[in-house]
């Protein structure tokens, strides 16, 4: 009983300082740090694409089509003689924007709907679940094409539709968690305190349901990248002459035998970004779980 005399004033600031926690995190999870750095680099490329890119990404040079990597064009040129590295850097903007948009829409639609369905139960759950089942029974790409058809062609609309297609996955996960969590005693206790349904969802159900949802979101990011690629490949997403990683693969695929570098570059970019999202997501999940603290 030596430390009995902690006065109320000291209680507030005993959480370790941000710098301390950051240092601990870097020591405990170096892979996630690499992932975060990679993501930062990609995001910086996306934001400052104009300044970083060595060439104009849409400038065509018919004397230098499908060139191999060289000092002038580090990653070669595409079938219209455009610099692949510049297109890749500019494509980062489109791809990051596209996947964030799609996953953001999916989360904003799916999580609340799922939580409400699971927590409320009864006929509300019944109706919402049937609607989700209907959405899930369509092949995602077909549904996305249909939604894009309604909203109109373009990258933003394409990714909105991908978001709508992803939403039921997150909704189902959130619903499953809410079903379990509404049985928790701390939810019963909150009801005894007179908490409204909204407060219980916000304070107890959402924070405890978010872990698997968050992991699913980080797994959806690369899928969104690929969906962007598919839709751009089909001509529903990014419109020429602007570039996105997906549309670059789609275009380079035709010339894979002659100029493989152009296909590897956006492919590797997608792979690396996807991996980075995963490691950061996993680390985030652990950080959010107080019982998993080492």
């Amino acid at each position: 009983m030596t430390e009995t005399s902690a006065t109320p004033g000291e209680i507030r600031s005993t959480r370790p300082a941000f710098t301390t926690r950051a240092r601990d995190w870097m020591r405990d999870d170096p892979v996630a740090v690499i992932g975060l750095v990679v993501l930062l680099v990609i995001v910086l490329c996306a934001i400052f694409a104009d300044a970083i890119a060595p060439h104009d990404p849409t400038l065509q040079d018919y004397n230098a089509m499908l060139e191999a990597p060289s000092a002038q064009h580090l990653l070669g040129t595409d079938d219209l003689g455009r610099d692949v590295l510049s297109r890749l850097i500019h494509g980062a903007t489109a791809s990051i924007y596209a996947s964030l948009l799609a996953v953001g829409v999916a989360a904003l639609l799916g999580i609340p709907v799922g939580l409400i369905a699971g927590y409320t139960g009864g006929w509300v759950d019944e109706v919402i679940s049937r609607i989700l089942d209907t959405f899930l029974s369509f092949p995602a790409i077909v549904l996305a094409i249909a939604v894009t058809g309604v909203l109109g062609i373009g990258l933003t609309n394409a990714m909105l539709s991908v978001g709508i297609v992803f939403a039921p996955q997150l909704a189902r996960l959130a619903r499953a968690r809410a079903l379990v969590l509404k049985q928790e005693l701390y939810v019963d206790a909150a009801r005894c305190f007179g908490a409204s349904t909204w407060l219980i969802l916000k304070n107890h159900v959402l924070p405890n349901a978010i872990q698997p949802v968050l992991v699913q979101i980080t797994l959806l990011m690369p899928v969104a990248l690929l969906a962007e690629a598919s839709l751009s490949f089909l001509g529903l997403g990014m419109q020429p002459p602007d570039s996105s990683w997906g549309s670059m693969i789609a275009r380079a695929y035709v010339y894979a035998q002659i100029a493989p570098a152009q296909m590897y570059a956006p492919g590797i970019a997608i792979l690396v970004t996807a991996l980075a999202f995963n490691t950061v997501g996993e680390s985030l999940r652990e950080a959010l779980d107080p019982t998993a603290r080492r």
Binding site: E3, T4, A6, T7, P8, E10, I11, T14, R15, E184, L185, Y186, D188, A189, A190, R191, C192, F193, G194, A195, S196, L199, N203, H204, P207, N208, L288, P290, T291
Partner: protein, 342 residues
């Protein structure tokens, strides 16, 4: 006499069974009142409906039939927002002290939660009140910044008690609050409950399967069997002069020779299990296991009689002097046996 804190009138609670084809009569016609500042003990084995009664008392379950009167007002006449405010006076402490705390909230946040919902206090006031409550239940204030998993079971149960104090509840339902705790900590927690009652005038509904725990703290005791009360009276009366055969069996199953009267060399051992509440026995629900049972027990539901002042029982054979010896009354084949204990 002033209004009771809570009054339960002919409470019935039915659930659909798991496969949905049958109806479980979890509570089937229970009436009682709890006065301000008293401790009302509810004893019974698993499946007797005692926890269900507890959840109804704080409004976590709604009765299928009957009415609950909270501080003079019928539950059915209070609705929505008003109910959320009124129910703050009726709080519950659960058996699983860990599950009652959100694992993602610090102890301080958990302590502040009920006050934030109630409103009317500044952040600073809430924090001060929370820390004061923590000290009141015997914890150090620096526990406030910890997470539930960093505390022991007994400490968590203290936190659960501390959280409801700022709400100034009139009734606290304690559902098996010490069953999961070490014996050494049990006594401390029971003493804490007693101190709080003395200082704050709380009424308790103390639910337990362990008769010695209930006997220690309760003013009155109700014995439940298959969703009904079989006996209700002052703790001393029920324990020293039990009127119902089931109470006799419960008391004789108690390993400690707690009440002197029970230091008997014989033990009443019931045969079989508690029958299913889906299809309760006809007549007296206990007749299938009762050594006193006669023909009338299977046919007629016994009346809820007040045989002695404030001491009620539902048994055909009970008399104000107690139960006759079972051999004389029992004409059926024995469903329970007296075993010699050494």
């Amino acid at each position: 006499m002033s209004d009771p804190v809570i009054e339960v009138r002919d409470l019935k609670l039915r659930f659909p069974s798991l496969d949905g084809t049958e109806v479980v009569h979890a509570v089937d016609g229970v009436s009682f009142r709890i006065e301000a500042g008293e401790t009302f003990g509810i004893i019974g084995e698993s499946g007797s409906g005692k926890s269900t009664i507890g959840r109804v008392l704080v409004g976590l379950l709604n009765p299928s039939d009957g009415d609950i009167v909270f501080a003079g007002r019928s539950r059915s006449s209070i609705s929505g927002r008003e109910w959320r405010k009124a129910r703050r006076g009726f709080q519950m402490i659960f058996q699983d002290s860990n599950a009652a705390l959100n694992p993602r909230m610090t102890i301080l946040d958990s302590l502040i939660e009920p006050m934030r919902i109630a409103g009317g206090r500044s952040r600073e006031e809430m924090r001060e009140t929370a820390l004061a409550a923590l000290v009141r239940v015997g914890l150090r204030p620096d526990m406030a910044q910890r997470y539930p998993h960093e505390l022991s079971g007994g400490q968590k149960q203290r936190v659960n008690i501390a959280r409801i104090l700022p709400l100034e509840p009139r009734l606290v339902v304690c559902d098996e609050v010490v069953a999961a705790l070490d014996v050494s900590i049990r006594g401390e927690i029971l003493n804490l409950f007693r101190d709080l009652q003395r200082d704050l005038g709380l009424a308790y509904a103390f639910i337990a399967h362990d008769i010695s725990v209930v006997a220690q703290i309760s003013d009155r005791v109700a014995v439940t069997y298959l969703g009904r009360f079989v006996e209700l009276g002052a703790t001393g009366d029920v324990i020293e002069r039990a009127l119902h055969p089931y109470t006799v069996a419960l008391l004789s199953a108690e390993p400690q020779p707690l009440p002197r009267a029970l230091r008997d060399d014989r033990r009443l051992v019931l045969q079989g299990d508690i029958p299913s509440p889906v299809n309760p026995p006809s007549g007296c629900r206990f007749h299938t296991r009762c050594p006193w049972a006669t023909e009338i027990c299977g046919r007629v539901d016994p009346e809820w009689r007040e045989l002695r002042s404030g001491h009620r029982v539902a048994c055909h054979h009970a008399t104000p002097e107690g139960l006759p010896s079972p051999g004389r009354a029992g004409t059926r084949e024995m469903t329970a046996t007296w075993e010699e204990t050494s």
